[in-house]
Amino acid sequence: MRLDLAHIQRWIEPGSRVLDLGCGNGEFLQLLRDQRQVRGTGIEIDPQEITAAIERGLNIVEQNLDQGLANFPDRSFDTVVMAHALQAVHFPDRVLDEMLRIGREGIVTFPNFGHWRCRVHLGTRGRMPVSRFMPYNWYDTPNIHFCTVNDFEALCEQKNIRILARDVVGNTQRQPLLATTWPNLFATTAIYHITR
Protein backbone atom coordinates (compact mmCIF):
# COMPACT_ATOMS: atom_id res chain seq x y z
CA MET A 1 0.00 0.00 0.00
CA ARG A 2 1.38 3.35 -1.02
CA LEU A 3 1.92 5.64 1.94
CA ASP A 4 -0.37 8.37 0.69
CA LEU A 5 -3.22 5.86 0.40
CA ALA A 6 -2.62 4.59 3.91
CA HIS A 7 -2.82 8.19 5.13
CA ILE A 8 -6.07 9.15 3.48
CA GLN A 9 -8.26 6.23 4.39
CA ARG A 10 -8.90 7.63 7.87
CA TRP A 11 -10.68 10.60 6.26
CA ILE A 12 -13.22 8.34 4.67
CA GLU A 13 -16.43 7.61 6.54
CA PRO A 14 -17.33 3.95 6.89
CA GLY A 15 -20.18 2.98 4.60
CA SER A 16 -19.87 6.11 2.48
CA ARG A 17 -19.78 6.46 -1.30
CA VAL A 18 -16.37 7.02 -2.81
CA LEU A 19 -15.36 7.89 -6.36
CA ASP A 20 -11.70 7.22 -7.11
CA LEU A 21 -10.37 9.14 -10.11
CA GLY A 22 -7.49 7.29 -11.70
CA CYS A 23 -8.03 4.29 -9.45
CA GLY A 24 -5.33 2.14 -11.04
CA ASN A 25 -5.75 -1.53 -10.20
CA GLY A 26 -8.28 -0.68 -7.50
CA GLU A 27 -6.04 -1.49 -4.54
CA PHE A 28 -7.31 1.47 -2.57
CA LEU A 29 -10.99 0.95 -3.37
CA GLN A 30 -10.66 -2.67 -2.36
CA LEU A 31 -9.14 -1.63 0.96
CA LEU A 32 -11.96 0.84 1.54
CA ARG A 33 -14.54 -1.76 0.63
CA ASP A 34 -13.06 -4.48 2.82
CA GLN A 35 -12.17 -2.34 5.84
CA ARG A 36 -14.65 0.51 5.70
CA GLN A 37 -17.60 -1.05 3.83
CA VAL A 38 -17.34 1.77 1.33
CA ARG A 39 -19.44 1.68 -1.84
CA GLY A 40 -16.87 2.65 -4.40
CA THR A 41 -16.57 3.38 -8.09
CA GLY A 42 -13.28 3.80 -9.89
CA ILE A 43 -12.40 5.65 -13.05
CA GLU A 44 -9.40 4.45 -15.01
CA ILE A 45 -8.10 4.56 -18.54
CA ASP A 46 -5.35 1.94 -18.58
CA PRO A 47 -6.71 -1.37 -19.94
CA GLN A 48 -4.55 -3.61 -17.77
CA GLU A 49 -5.38 -1.70 -14.61
CA ILE A 50 -9.08 -1.90 -15.48
CA THR A 51 -8.95 -5.67 -15.82
CA ALA A 52 -7.02 -5.94 -12.56
CA ALA A 53 -9.65 -3.82 -10.82
CA ILE A 54 -12.48 -5.96 -12.25
CA GLU A 55 -10.64 -9.02 -10.90
CA ARG A 56 -10.90 -7.43 -7.47
CA GLY A 57 -14.65 -7.29 -7.87
CA LEU A 58 -14.78 -3.49 -8.09
CA ASN A 59 -16.98 -1.22 -10.19
CA ILE A 60 -14.70 0.41 -12.71
CA VAL A 61 -15.68 2.78 -15.47
CA GLU A 62 -13.31 3.30 -18.37
CA GLN A 63 -13.20 7.05 -18.81
CA ASN A 64 -10.65 9.71 -19.67
CA LEU A 65 -10.50 12.37 -16.95
CA ASP A 66 -9.42 14.91 -19.54
CA GLN A 67 -12.78 14.52 -21.26
CA GLY A 68 -14.58 15.69 -18.15
CA LEU A 69 -16.82 14.18 -15.51
CA ALA A 70 -20.09 15.71 -16.61
CA ASN A 71 -21.74 12.27 -16.50
CA PHE A 72 -21.48 12.20 -12.71
CA PRO A 73 -24.36 14.06 -11.06
CA ASP A 74 -23.88 16.73 -8.37
CA ARG A 75 -23.33 15.30 -4.90
CA SER A 76 -23.56 11.74 -6.13
CA PHE A 77 -20.63 10.70 -3.91
CA ASP A 78 -19.53 11.51 -0.38
CA THR A 79 -15.85 11.67 -1.18
CA VAL A 80 -14.00 11.96 -4.47
CA VAL A 81 -10.40 10.80 -4.29
CA MET A 82 -7.65 11.57 -6.76
CA ALA A 83 -4.34 10.05 -5.76
CA HIS A 84 -1.29 10.98 -7.80
CA ALA A 85 -3.26 12.00 -10.87
CA LEU A 86 -3.61 15.78 -10.47
CA GLN A 87 -0.26 16.37 -12.15
CA ALA A 88 -1.22 14.15 -15.10
CA VAL A 89 -4.49 15.79 -16.19
CA HIS A 90 -4.85 18.56 -18.75
CA PHE A 91 -6.86 20.91 -16.51
CA PRO A 92 -6.13 20.23 -12.83
CA ASP A 93 -8.14 23.28 -11.75
CA ARG A 94 -11.27 22.11 -13.56
CA VAL A 95 -10.90 18.59 -12.18
CA LEU A 96 -10.78 20.05 -8.66
CA ASP A 97 -14.01 21.92 -9.33
CA GLU A 98 -15.60 18.75 -10.66
CA MET A 99 -14.45 16.75 -7.64
CA LEU A 100 -16.19 19.15 -5.29
CA ARG A 101 -19.30 19.25 -7.42
CA ILE A 102 -19.64 15.46 -7.50
CA GLY A 103 -18.60 14.88 -3.90
CA ARG A 104 -19.09 16.70 -0.62
CA GLU A 105 -15.41 16.33 0.04
CA GLY A 106 -12.31 15.66 -1.97
CA ILE A 107 -8.98 14.08 -1.21
CA VAL A 108 -6.04 14.93 -3.43
CA THR A 109 -2.50 13.65 -3.33
CA PHE A 110 0.34 14.77 -5.58
CA PRO A 111 4.12 14.70 -5.71
CA ASN A 112 5.54 17.96 -4.34
CA PHE A 113 7.75 19.54 -6.95
CA GLY A 114 8.99 21.99 -4.34
CA HIS A 115 10.86 19.23 -2.50
CA TRP A 116 14.45 20.19 -1.83
CA ARG A 117 15.83 17.42 -3.99
CA CYS A 118 13.94 18.77 -7.00
CA ARG A 119 15.23 22.23 -6.24
CA VAL A 120 18.80 21.03 -5.88
CA HIS A 121 18.55 18.97 -9.05
CA LEU A 122 17.20 21.88 -11.06
CA GLY A 123 19.37 24.46 -9.27
CA THR A 124 22.72 22.71 -9.61
CA ARG A 125 22.36 20.70 -12.79
CA GLY A 126 19.92 22.90 -14.57
CA ARG A 127 18.00 19.82 -15.69
CA MET A 128 14.50 18.64 -14.91
CA PRO A 129 14.62 16.26 -11.96
CA VAL A 130 14.52 12.53 -12.59
CA SER A 131 14.33 10.41 -9.47
CA ARG A 132 12.87 7.30 -7.95
CA PHE A 133 9.63 9.22 -7.35
CA MET A 134 9.57 10.89 -10.76
CA PRO A 135 11.27 8.41 -13.03
CA TYR A 136 10.39 10.10 -16.34
CA ASN A 137 12.18 12.40 -18.70
CA TRP A 138 10.52 15.74 -19.38
CA TYR A 139 9.45 14.67 -22.87
CA ASP A 140 7.87 11.33 -22.04
CA THR A 141 6.36 12.03 -18.66
CA PRO A 142 2.63 11.64 -18.09
CA ASN A 143 3.08 14.30 -15.40
CA ILE A 144 2.40 17.49 -17.29
CA HIS A 145 1.30 19.78 -14.46
CA PHE A 146 3.74 19.60 -11.61
CA CYS A 147 3.10 21.92 -8.70
CA THR A 148 4.40 22.60 -5.23
CA VAL A 149 2.60 22.53 -1.91
CA ASN A 150 2.45 26.33 -1.98
CA ASP A 151 1.14 26.38 -5.55
CA PHE A 152 -1.68 24.04 -4.61
CA GLU A 153 -2.66 26.03 -1.54
CA ALA A 154 -2.66 29.24 -3.57
CA LEU A 155 -5.01 27.62 -6.10
CA CYS A 156 -7.33 26.47 -3.31
CA GLU A 157 -7.46 29.99 -1.91
CA GLN A 158 -8.16 31.45 -5.31
CA LYS A 159 -10.97 28.95 -5.87
CA ASN A 160 -12.43 29.26 -2.37
CA ILE A 161 -11.66 25.64 -1.67
CA ARG A 162 -11.41 24.95 2.03
CA ILE A 163 -8.54 22.76 3.21
CA LEU A 164 -9.93 20.54 5.95
CA ALA A 165 -6.62 18.84 6.59
CA ARG A 166 -3.16 18.56 5.16
CA ASP A 167 -0.88 15.62 5.52
CA VAL A 168 2.51 14.94 4.06
CA VAL A 169 4.79 12.06 3.31
CA GLY A 170 8.45 12.91 3.80
CA ASN A 171 11.56 11.57 2.22
CA THR A 172 12.11 9.12 5.02
CA GLN A 173 9.61 7.97 7.58
CA ARG A 174 12.11 8.75 10.30
CA GLN A 175 11.88 12.47 9.75
CA PRO A 176 8.17 13.26 9.60
CA LEU A 177 8.73 16.44 11.57
CA LEU A 178 10.66 18.15 8.82
CA ALA A 179 7.98 17.42 6.25
CA THR A 180 5.21 18.52 8.57
CA THR A 181 6.94 21.71 9.57
CA TRP A 182 8.23 22.78 6.15
CA PRO A 183 6.09 20.80 3.71
CA ASN A 184 6.98 22.83 0.66
CA LEU A 185 10.60 21.86 1.13
CA PHE A 186 10.46 18.40 2.69
CA ALA A 187 7.22 16.73 1.62
CA THR A 188 7.66 14.28 -1.23
CA THR A 189 3.93 13.71 -1.40
CA ALA A 190 1.30 16.20 -0.34
CA ILE A 191 -2.11 15.00 0.80
CA TYR A 192 -5.11 17.30 1.08
CA HIS A 193 -8.61 16.85 2.40
CA ILE A 194 -10.70 19.58 0.80
CA THR A 195 -14.27 20.85 0.57
CA ARG A 196 -16.21 23.95 -0.46
Partner: protein, 382 residues
Protein backbone atom coordinates in the same frame (compact mmCIF):
# COMPACT_ATOMS: atom_id res chain seq x y z
CA UNK B 1 -1.59 -22.85 -32.48
CA UNK B 2 -3.40 -19.97 -30.83
CA UNK B 3 -4.66 -19.71 -27.32
CA UNK B 4 -8.18 -20.28 -28.62
CA UNK B 5 -7.31 -23.64 -30.12
CA UNK B 6 -6.06 -24.87 -26.78
CA UNK B 7 -9.28 -24.16 -25.06
CA UNK B 8 -12.05 -26.65 -25.03
CA UNK B 9 -15.50 -26.86 -26.40
CA UNK B 10 -18.62 -28.03 -24.61
CA UNK B 11 -18.59 -30.78 -27.24
CA UNK B 12 -21.70 -32.41 -28.63
CA UNK B 13 -24.92 -30.77 -27.54
CA UNK B 14 -28.52 -31.65 -28.19
CA UNK B 15 -31.25 -29.02 -28.41
CA UNK B 16 -34.32 -29.53 -26.28
CA UNK B 17 -37.83 -28.20 -26.63
CA UNK B 18 -39.91 -26.73 -23.82
CA UNK B 19 -43.69 -26.58 -24.38
CA UNK B 20 -45.78 -23.97 -22.64
CA UNK B 21 -49.55 -24.30 -22.57
CA UNK B 22 -50.34 -21.32 -20.39
CA UNK B 23 -51.24 -18.41 -22.69
CA UNK B 24 -48.61 -15.70 -22.99
CA UNK B 25 -49.98 -12.15 -23.05
CA UNK B 26 -47.99 -10.12 -25.57
CA UNK B 27 -47.08 -6.44 -25.61
CA UNK B 28 -49.24 -5.95 -28.71
CA UNK B 29 -52.36 -6.98 -26.77
CA UNK B 30 -52.73 -10.38 -28.40
CA UNK B 31 -51.75 -13.63 -26.79
CA UNK B 32 -50.09 -16.86 -27.75
CA UNK B 33 -52.25 -19.70 -26.52
CA UNK B 34 -49.37 -22.12 -26.45
CA UNK B 35 -45.85 -22.08 -27.74
CA UNK B 36 -42.54 -23.90 -27.80
CA UNK B 37 -39.04 -22.71 -27.10
CA UNK B 38 -36.03 -24.61 -28.38
CA UNK B 39 -32.97 -24.31 -26.16
CA UNK B 40 -29.61 -25.78 -25.30
CA UNK B 41 -27.83 -25.96 -21.97
CA UNK B 42 -24.14 -26.25 -21.21
CA UNK B 43 -22.62 -27.10 -17.83
CA UNK B 44 -24.41 -28.24 -14.69
CA UNK B 45 -26.93 -26.43 -12.53
CA UNK B 46 -25.54 -26.40 -8.98
CA UNK B 47 -27.47 -27.58 -5.93
CA UNK B 48 -28.40 -24.03 -4.92
CA UNK B 49 -29.54 -23.36 -8.51
CA UNK B 50 -27.55 -20.16 -8.34
CA UNK B 51 -25.10 -20.54 -11.22
CA UNK B 52 -27.42 -20.19 -14.20
CA UNK B 53 -26.52 -17.82 -17.03
CA UNK B 54 -28.99 -16.85 -19.74
CA UNK B 55 -27.69 -16.07 -23.22
CA UNK B 56 -29.83 -13.65 -25.24
CA UNK B 57 -29.17 -13.83 -28.95
CA UNK B 58 -28.96 -11.01 -31.46
CA UNK B 59 -31.05 -10.29 -34.56
CA UNK B 60 -30.35 -13.44 -36.55
CA UNK B 61 -29.12 -15.66 -33.73
CA UNK B 62 -30.51 -18.85 -32.30
CA UNK B 63 -30.21 -21.34 -29.48
CA UNK B 64 -27.06 -23.03 -30.75
CA UNK B 65 -24.47 -20.83 -29.04
CA UNK B 66 -21.77 -23.37 -28.23
CA UNK B 67 -20.55 -26.85 -29.06
CA UNK B 68 -21.42 -29.08 -32.00
CA UNK B 69 -24.54 -30.99 -32.95
CA UNK B 70 -22.68 -34.04 -34.18
CA UNK B 71 -19.20 -35.44 -34.73
CA UNK B 72 -19.43 -34.38 -38.37
CA UNK B 73 -20.60 -30.87 -37.53
CA UNK B 74 -17.95 -28.50 -38.89
CA UNK B 75 -19.22 -25.27 -37.41
CA UNK B 76 -19.63 -24.74 -33.67
CA UNK B 77 -22.29 -22.54 -32.07
CA UNK B 78 -22.25 -18.81 -32.74
CA UNK B 79 -20.61 -17.85 -29.44
CA UNK B 80 -18.16 -20.72 -29.18
CA UNK B 81 -15.41 -18.17 -28.44
CA UNK B 82 -17.09 -17.10 -25.23
CA UNK B 83 -18.87 -20.20 -23.92
CA UNK B 84 -17.07 -23.36 -22.83
CA UNK B 85 -14.62 -24.76 -20.30
CA UNK B 86 -12.10 -22.07 -19.37
CA UNK B 87 -13.78 -19.50 -21.56
CA UNK B 88 -15.30 -16.23 -20.31
CA UNK B 89 -18.64 -17.95 -19.65
CA UNK B 90 -16.97 -20.94 -18.08
CA UNK B 91 -19.13 -24.04 -18.34
CA UNK B 92 -17.09 -25.67 -15.56
CA UNK B 93 -18.61 -23.05 -13.34
CA UNK B 94 -21.88 -21.97 -14.88
CA UNK B 95 -25.06 -23.60 -16.12
CA UNK B 96 -25.66 -21.85 -19.40
CA UNK B 97 -29.08 -21.62 -21.03
CA UNK B 98 -29.37 -20.48 -24.63
CA UNK B 99 -32.66 -20.39 -26.46
CA UNK B 100 -34.11 -19.41 -29.79
CA UNK B 101 -36.36 -16.43 -29.21
CA UNK B 102 -40.07 -16.60 -29.73
CA UNK B 103 -40.78 -15.55 -33.32
CA UNK B 104 -37.55 -17.16 -34.47
CA UNK B 105 -37.11 -19.66 -37.23
CA UNK B 106 -34.79 -22.22 -35.65
CA UNK B 107 -37.30 -24.27 -33.71
CA UNK B 108 -39.12 -21.90 -31.37
CA UNK B 109 -42.68 -20.92 -32.17
CA UNK B 110 -42.65 -18.30 -34.90
CA UNK B 111 -44.02 -17.36 -38.32
CA UNK B 112 -43.09 -20.76 -39.77
CA UNK B 113 -45.03 -22.62 -37.03
CA UNK B 114 -48.59 -23.76 -37.47
CA UNK B 115 -51.26 -21.37 -36.26
CA UNK B 116 -53.55 -23.67 -34.23
CA UNK B 117 -56.59 -21.64 -35.26
CA UNK B 118 -56.06 -22.08 -39.00
CA UNK B 119 -53.96 -25.19 -39.22
CA UNK B 120 -51.66 -23.25 -41.59
CA UNK B 121 -48.30 -21.61 -40.93
CA UNK B 122 -48.64 -18.23 -39.20
CA UNK B 123 -46.62 -16.43 -41.86
CA UNK B 124 -47.03 -12.65 -41.69
CA UNK B 125 -49.96 -13.04 -39.26
CA UNK B 126 -47.69 -14.06 -36.42
CA UNK B 127 -48.18 -11.49 -33.64
CA UNK B 128 -45.60 -8.68 -33.59
CA UNK B 129 -43.21 -9.11 -30.67
CA UNK B 130 -41.29 -6.82 -28.37
CA UNK B 131 -38.19 -7.52 -26.31
CA UNK B 132 -40.37 -7.77 -23.22
CA UNK B 133 -42.28 -10.66 -24.79
CA UNK B 134 -38.99 -12.49 -25.17
CA UNK B 135 -38.07 -11.66 -21.59
CA UNK B 136 -41.44 -12.94 -20.33
CA UNK B 137 -41.12 -16.16 -22.28
CA UNK B 138 -37.55 -16.59 -21.02
CA UNK B 139 -38.79 -16.14 -17.46
CA UNK B 140 -41.16 -19.05 -18.02
CA UNK B 141 -38.33 -21.12 -19.38
CA UNK B 142 -36.39 -20.26 -16.21
CA UNK B 143 -39.39 -21.43 -14.15
CA UNK B 144 -39.49 -24.71 -16.01
CA UNK B 145 -35.78 -25.25 -15.37
CA UNK B 146 -36.12 -24.42 -11.67
CA UNK B 147 -34.09 -21.21 -11.93
CA UNK B 148 -35.39 -18.51 -9.60
CA UNK B 149 -32.61 -16.06 -10.25
CA UNK B 150 -30.02 -15.85 -13.01
CA UNK B 151 -26.44 -15.36 -11.92
CA UNK B 152 -26.21 -13.32 -15.11
CA UNK B 153 -28.21 -12.46 -18.18
CA UNK B 154 -25.82 -11.85 -21.05
CA UNK B 155 -26.33 -10.49 -24.52
CA UNK B 156 -24.69 -8.68 -27.40
CA UNK B 157 -26.45 -6.23 -29.71
CA UNK B 158 -30.21 -6.95 -29.63
CA UNK B 159 -29.34 -9.55 -26.97
CA UNK B 160 -27.88 -6.80 -24.80
CA UNK B 161 -31.14 -4.90 -25.11
CA UNK B 162 -33.03 -7.95 -23.87
CA UNK B 163 -30.61 -8.27 -20.96
CA UNK B 164 -31.35 -4.67 -19.96
CA UNK B 165 -35.09 -5.32 -20.25
CA UNK B 166 -34.61 -8.29 -17.94
CA UNK B 167 -33.05 -6.02 -15.32
CA UNK B 168 -36.17 -3.82 -15.32
CA UNK B 169 -38.91 -6.45 -15.74
CA UNK B 170 -37.57 -9.03 -13.28
CA UNK B 171 -35.21 -7.13 -10.95
CA UNK B 172 -35.32 -9.94 -8.38
CA UNK B 173 -34.42 -12.65 -10.87
CA UNK B 174 -31.12 -11.32 -12.18
CA UNK B 175 -27.91 -10.61 -10.24
CA UNK B 176 -25.71 -9.41 -13.09
CA UNK B 177 -26.64 -7.88 -16.42
CA UNK B 178 -24.01 -8.01 -19.15
CA UNK B 179 -24.67 -5.66 -22.03
CA UNK B 180 -22.28 -5.92 -24.99
CA UNK B 181 -22.29 -3.63 -28.04
CA UNK B 182 -25.87 -2.49 -27.41
CA UNK B 183 -27.91 0.68 -26.98
CA UNK B 184 -30.98 1.85 -25.09
CA UNK B 185 -32.67 2.52 -28.43
CA UNK B 186 -31.73 2.61 -32.07
CA UNK B 187 -30.50 5.78 -33.72
CA UNK B 188 -32.21 7.16 -36.82
CA UNK B 189 -29.32 5.79 -38.87
CA UNK B 190 -29.91 2.33 -37.44
CA UNK B 191 -33.65 2.56 -38.15
CA UNK B 192 -32.77 3.55 -41.69
CA UNK B 193 -30.61 0.50 -42.28
CA UNK B 194 -33.34 -1.78 -40.94
CA UNK B 195 -35.84 -0.11 -43.25
CA UNK B 196 -33.62 -0.74 -46.27
CA UNK B 197 -33.34 -4.37 -45.21
CA UNK B 198 -37.09 -4.74 -44.91
CA UNK B 199 -37.73 -2.95 -48.19
CA UNK B 200 -35.34 -5.36 -49.87
CA UNK B 201 -37.53 -8.22 -48.65
CA UNK B 202 -40.84 -6.46 -49.34
CA UNK B 203 -39.83 -5.62 -52.90
CA UNK B 204 -38.97 -9.22 -53.75
CA UNK B 205 -42.05 -10.48 -55.67
CA UNK B 206 -41.50 -13.90 -54.13
CA UNK B 207 -42.22 -12.42 -50.69
CA UNK B 208 -45.88 -11.95 -51.63
CA UNK B 209 -46.66 -9.84 -48.56
CA UNK B 210 -45.31 -12.62 -46.41
CA UNK B 211 -47.54 -15.34 -47.86
CA UNK B 212 -44.71 -17.14 -49.64
CA UNK B 213 -45.43 -20.46 -47.92
CA UNK B 214 -48.84 -20.68 -49.55
CA UNK B 215 -47.36 -19.61 -52.87
CA UNK B 216 -44.52 -22.06 -52.64
CA UNK B 217 -41.99 -19.30 -53.31
CA UNK B 218 -38.93 -18.22 -51.33
CA UNK B 219 -37.94 -14.52 -51.19
CA UNK B 220 -34.29 -15.45 -51.21
CA UNK B 221 -33.20 -12.46 -53.27
CA UNK B 222 -34.80 -10.01 -50.83
CA UNK B 223 -33.43 -11.81 -47.79
CA UNK B 224 -29.96 -11.96 -49.30
CA UNK B 225 -30.04 -8.23 -50.03
CA UNK B 226 -31.25 -7.51 -46.52
CA UNK B 227 -28.39 -9.52 -45.10
CA UNK B 228 -25.86 -7.83 -47.35
CA UNK B 229 -26.89 -4.40 -46.07
CA UNK B 230 -26.71 -5.72 -42.52
CA UNK B 231 -23.27 -7.18 -43.06
CA UNK B 232 -21.87 -3.89 -44.29
CA UNK B 233 -22.98 -2.27 -41.06
CA UNK B 234 -21.52 -5.03 -38.88
CA UNK B 235 -18.01 -4.42 -40.19
CA UNK B 236 -15.86 -1.32 -39.88
CA UNK B 237 -14.33 0.42 -42.85
CA UNK B 238 -10.96 -0.71 -41.55
CA UNK B 239 -12.04 -4.33 -41.16
CA UNK B 240 -13.38 -4.40 -44.71
CA UNK B 241 -10.19 -2.85 -46.03
CA UNK B 242 -8.14 -5.41 -44.14
CA UNK B 243 -10.24 -8.36 -45.10
CA UNK B 244 -10.86 -7.54 -48.76
CA UNK B 245 -9.24 -4.27 -49.75
CA UNK B 246 -9.75 -3.82 -53.48
CA UNK B 247 -8.61 -7.33 -54.25
CA UNK B 248 -10.17 -8.96 -57.25
CA UNK B 249 -11.75 -12.35 -57.13
CA UNK B 250 -12.12 -12.66 -60.89
CA UNK B 251 -11.45 -10.67 -64.05
CA UNK B 252 -8.89 -7.92 -64.32
CA UNK B 253 -8.97 -4.18 -64.70
CA UNK B 254 -7.12 -4.48 -68.05
CA UNK B 255 -9.87 -6.60 -69.56
CA UNK B 256 -12.21 -3.75 -68.91
CA UNK B 257 -15.76 -4.25 -70.00
CA UNK B 258 -15.38 -7.56 -71.77
CA UNK B 259 -15.20 -9.74 -68.73
CA UNK B 260 -16.94 -9.20 -65.44
CA UNK B 261 -14.60 -7.73 -62.85
CA UNK B 262 -15.49 -8.88 -59.39
CA UNK B 263 -14.04 -7.61 -56.13
CA UNK B 264 -13.51 -9.92 -53.18
CA UNK B 265 -15.91 -7.85 -51.12
CA UNK B 266 -18.69 -8.40 -53.67
CA UNK B 267 -18.18 -12.10 -53.60
CA UNK B 268 -18.12 -12.09 -49.80
CA UNK B 269 -21.37 -10.18 -49.52
CA UNK B 270 -23.11 -12.41 -52.05
CA UNK B 271 -21.93 -15.48 -50.24
CA UNK B 272 -23.16 -14.15 -46.90
CA UNK B 273 -26.45 -13.15 -48.48
CA UNK B 274 -27.11 -16.47 -50.14
CA UNK B 275 -26.05 -18.49 -47.08
CA UNK B 276 -28.42 -16.48 -44.95
CA UNK B 277 -31.36 -16.61 -47.32
CA UNK B 278 -31.16 -20.39 -47.31
CA UNK B 279 -31.33 -20.58 -43.52
CA UNK B 280 -33.57 -17.79 -42.39
CA UNK B 281 -37.25 -17.03 -42.63
CA UNK B 282 -38.18 -13.67 -44.17
CA UNK B 283 -41.16 -13.11 -41.86
CA UNK B 284 -38.93 -13.73 -38.86
CA UNK B 285 -36.47 -11.19 -40.24
CA UNK B 286 -39.26 -8.63 -40.56
CA UNK B 287 -40.44 -9.39 -37.03
CA UNK B 288 -36.97 -9.26 -35.45
CA UNK B 289 -35.95 -6.00 -37.13
CA UNK B 290 -39.18 -4.38 -36.01
CA UNK B 291 -38.65 -5.55 -32.43
CA UNK B 292 -35.21 -3.99 -32.66
CA UNK B 293 -36.60 -0.75 -34.10
CA UNK B 294 -39.31 -0.35 -31.49
CA UNK B 295 -37.07 -1.19 -28.55
CA UNK B 296 -36.85 1.89 -26.33
CA UNK B 297 -35.69 1.06 -22.85
CA UNK B 298 -36.92 4.23 -21.17
CA UNK B 299 -40.04 5.08 -23.15
CA UNK B 300 -42.46 3.91 -20.51
CA UNK B 301 -40.39 5.59 -17.79
CA UNK B 302 -41.10 9.08 -19.14
CA UNK B 303 -38.18 8.67 -21.52
CA UNK B 304 -35.89 8.96 -18.54
CA UNK B 305 -33.22 6.22 -18.56
CA UNK B 306 -32.24 7.10 -14.99
CA UNK B 307 -35.81 6.53 -13.82
CA UNK B 308 -35.83 3.27 -15.80
CA UNK B 309 -32.63 1.92 -14.29
CA UNK B 310 -33.66 2.91 -10.79
CA UNK B 311 -35.91 -0.17 -11.01
CA UNK B 312 -32.95 -2.46 -11.53
CA UNK B 313 -31.26 -4.17 -8.62
CA UNK B 314 -28.44 -6.01 -10.34
CA UNK B 315 -24.87 -5.09 -11.17
CA UNK B 316 -24.01 -4.22 -14.74
CA UNK B 317 -21.11 -4.84 -17.06
CA UNK B 318 -21.21 -2.74 -20.22
CA UNK B 319 -18.77 -3.33 -23.07
CA UNK B 320 -18.38 -1.46 -26.35
CA UNK B 321 -15.95 -1.62 -29.27
CA UNK B 322 -14.09 1.36 -30.68
CA UNK B 323 -14.94 0.88 -34.36
CA UNK B 324 -18.53 -0.30 -33.86
CA UNK B 325 -20.56 2.31 -35.70
CA UNK B 326 -23.82 0.36 -35.62
CA UNK B 327 -23.88 0.40 -31.81
CA UNK B 328 -21.16 2.89 -31.11
CA UNK B 329 -19.32 3.38 -27.80
CA UNK B 330 -21.30 6.63 -27.38
CA UNK B 331 -24.51 4.53 -27.12
CA UNK B 332 -22.91 2.33 -24.45
CA UNK B 333 -21.70 5.37 -22.55
CA UNK B 334 -25.31 6.59 -22.43
CA UNK B 335 -26.21 3.33 -20.70
CA UNK B 336 -23.30 3.72 -18.29
CA UNK B 337 -24.14 7.35 -17.52
CA UNK B 338 -27.76 6.48 -16.79
CA UNK B 339 -26.64 3.66 -14.50
CA UNK B 340 -24.24 5.98 -12.67
CA UNK B 341 -26.96 8.58 -12.25
CA UNK B 342 -29.33 5.87 -11.01
CA UNK B 343 -26.68 4.77 -8.49
CA UNK B 344 -26.44 1.25 -9.90
CA UNK B 345 -23.15 -0.67 -9.72
CA UNK B 346 -21.61 -0.55 -13.18
CA UNK B 347 -18.37 -1.54 -14.84
CA UNK B 348 -17.57 -0.28 -18.30
CA UNK B 349 -14.85 -1.15 -20.79
CA UNK B 350 -14.37 0.31 -24.24
CA UNK B 351 -12.39 -2.23 -26.22
CA UNK B 352 -10.01 -1.11 -28.96
CA UNK B 353 -10.96 -3.34 -31.87
CA UNK B 354 -10.85 -2.97 -35.65
CA UNK B 355 -13.70 -5.35 -36.36
CA UNK B 356 -16.72 -3.08 -35.92
CA UNK B 357 -19.97 -4.43 -34.47
CA UNK B 358 -18.91 -8.01 -35.24
CA UNK B 359 -16.19 -7.64 -32.60
CA UNK B 360 -18.60 -8.90 -29.94
CA UNK B 361 -18.43 -12.35 -31.51
CA UNK B 362 -14.65 -12.45 -31.81
CA UNK B 363 -11.91 -13.50 -29.37
CA UNK B 364 -10.27 -10.09 -29.00
CA UNK B 365 -7.76 -10.51 -26.17
CA UNK B 366 -8.74 -7.52 -24.06
CA UNK B 367 -12.44 -8.27 -24.53
CA UNK B 368 -11.88 -11.84 -23.35
CA UNK B 369 -9.85 -10.60 -20.35
CA UNK B 370 -12.50 -8.13 -19.21
CA UNK B 371 -15.36 -10.56 -19.82
CA UNK B 372 -13.54 -13.41 -18.02
CA UNK B 373 -12.55 -11.24 -15.07
CA UNK B 374 -16.11 -10.07 -14.62
CA UNK B 375 -17.58 -13.55 -14.99
CA UNK B 376 -15.19 -14.89 -12.33
CA UNK B 377 -16.71 -12.35 -10.01
CA UNK B 378 -20.21 -13.45 -11.02
CA UNK B 379 -19.12 -17.02 -10.25
CA UNK B 380 -17.76 -16.13 -6.84
CA UNK B 381 -21.14 -14.94 -5.64
CA UNK B 382 -23.08 -17.70 -7.40
Amino acid sequence: MTLQDNRQSVGIVTPRVARFSEPLALACGRELVDYELVYETYGELNAQRSNAVLICHALSGHHHAAGYHSEEDKKPGWWEECIGPGKPIDTDRFFVVSLNNLGGCHGSTGPTSINPQTGEPWGPDFPPLRARDWVNSQARLADSLGIDCWAAVVGGSLGGMQAMRWSLEYPDRIRHCIVIAAAMKLSAQNLAFNEVARQAILSDPAFADGHYHERGTVPSQGLALARMVGHITYLSDHAMANKFGRDLRSGSFEQGEEKNVEFQVQSYLRYQGSQFSGNFDANTYMLMTRALDYFDLAREYDNDPVAAFSHARCSFLVISFSTDWRFSPARSREIVDALIAADRPVTYAEIEADEGHDAFLLPIPRYMDVFSAYMRRVGETA
